[in-house]
């Protein structure tokens, strides 16, 4: 299941969505950006691909997905793809374990807990 919350229709669909989402995560792009990518891919599915169960894809569909991304960018202008790490309300930290979040996404109590646990475990030698 991609971040758009829509189930992939074929193995190739699933593969594209997984690859796109993995790469977007790798680049630390926001959940919103990842949803936009998935939405662009789904929007480009006009049902006209005669070989929908193939492991390959029609170039027209890929071009349409790219055009969808471009069209939105031209409408809305450039915007950061990476979420603001200092935004305490960002949803992007919610699915991360505490250790993978930046300190700015932890409250004083959580941060105190992390430091305390480390000091107790190894005497602070890091």
């Amino acid at each position: 299941m991609g971040p758009a919350g829509t189930g992939p229709a074929t193995a190739a669909d699933s593969d594209v969505l997984r690859r796109v989402d993995d790469e977007a995560r790798e680049r630390r792009w926001s959940l919103n950006t990842r949803r936009r990518l998935a939405a662009a891919w789904h929007a480009a599915d006009d049902g006209g691909d005669a070989d929908a169960h193939s492991a390959t894809l029609a170039p027209e569909r890929v071009a349409a997905a790219v055009a969808d991304v471009v069209a939105q960018a031209l409408r809305e202008g450039p915007a950061p793809l990476v979420p603001d790490p200092t935004d305490a309300r960002t949803e992007d930290a919610h699915d991360l374990p505490v250790g993978r979040r930046p300190p700015s996404q932890l409250g004083v109590v959580q941060l105190t807990g992390v430091v305390a646990r480390r000091l107790l475990r190894v005497g602070g030698e890091r």
Binding site: V16, E23, L37, W41, V66, A79, R100, P102, P103, V115
Partner: protein, 384 residues
Amino acid sequence: MSDLLLPEGVRLVHVGPPKTATTSLQAAFHAARPKLEQHGVHYAGSRRHEMLAVVAAVGGRGFLGGPEPDLSAWKALLADMEAAGSQRVVLSSEYLAQARLPKVERIVDEIGREQIHVVLTLRPLDRLIPSQWQQYVQTGYDISYDAWLREMFSDTPRKGLTPTFWVRHRHDELAERWADVVGADNVTVVVLDPRDHELVLRVFEELVGLPAGLLELQEDLSNRSLTLGEIEVVRDFNRLYREAGWPSSAHFHYLRNGVVNELRTRQPGKDEAKIVTPPWAQDRVAALTETMVANLWKSGVRVVGDLDTLVAPPAPAGAVEQPDSARRVSPEVASLAMIGAMAQTGEPKVDARRVRGWKPVDDYTTRELAGLLRRRLTERRSKS
């Protein structure tokens, strides 16, 4: 001393044409700049390829939506060559191949007629035609390969459709055009060897008196041709782009700098479909290359390599058209194309700063975290 060695003070002008190892030659000269000077050789300009300067000189256009050609850059390039004095100077640009006769005369006069030696690098036309078509598609054309070939081999090709193609790739006429201005004695044709990619470097070393091996091939995927599937994505995007009426800057920003650059980060598999010339066109190419090679033999220019290897074979008996399914792409290509476009919608400086800000707690030392905690508590106390 090599028979090929050109005199001191020569201005070696390498005119391509495109798709004849020009990028690897330019990259090798550019990477070797400091060593070249020790051997009395200067590689003109300061970049790998002074494209915009040369495009301005030949009266060409830049990439769709990209930076404009700049005549002042050409003047600066001429000044750079002039300043090299008695050094042997190498200027390399495949865009020089699209200069028509008046421009050739002007360029030769500007560089200095007495000092010029023109070099063409040639490979078989049948090998470079697919590559040249996909290059045109990257600049915004959405015509299919077969339709484009039919136009190029038509007696009345569509006006405005890749008008430079035969200017660049009637290789006999290209050699003749420059020889008419500088003299056939001052033109060398280097026939590339598909089995030995370093041969062209060795020949250029001999031409300008560099020790063998000084020029080195540079590993670089950024100039590779796109596969059939990849270029079909680009071609269909061009159609959508045109229908949407988007600005040309969008093509350059999202397509060239985004999608195409991202696709080029991958090394295509050996089993991926390449662009295959249809049998009818292969036969036309074969006939044409026979004529071109015969004309080159008669031209009186100096030849390094075997001209006869430029004659393309006709289509084998029973050759069939490439099936439509060959155009389909892998999920990897699809995902890279989308990532490439999306990457161009961001704000690079802000994004780079934010990426650094997402450094996870686990990557901090306890001392760093304790310091952060202390600051937080101090701030909290000062607020309360």
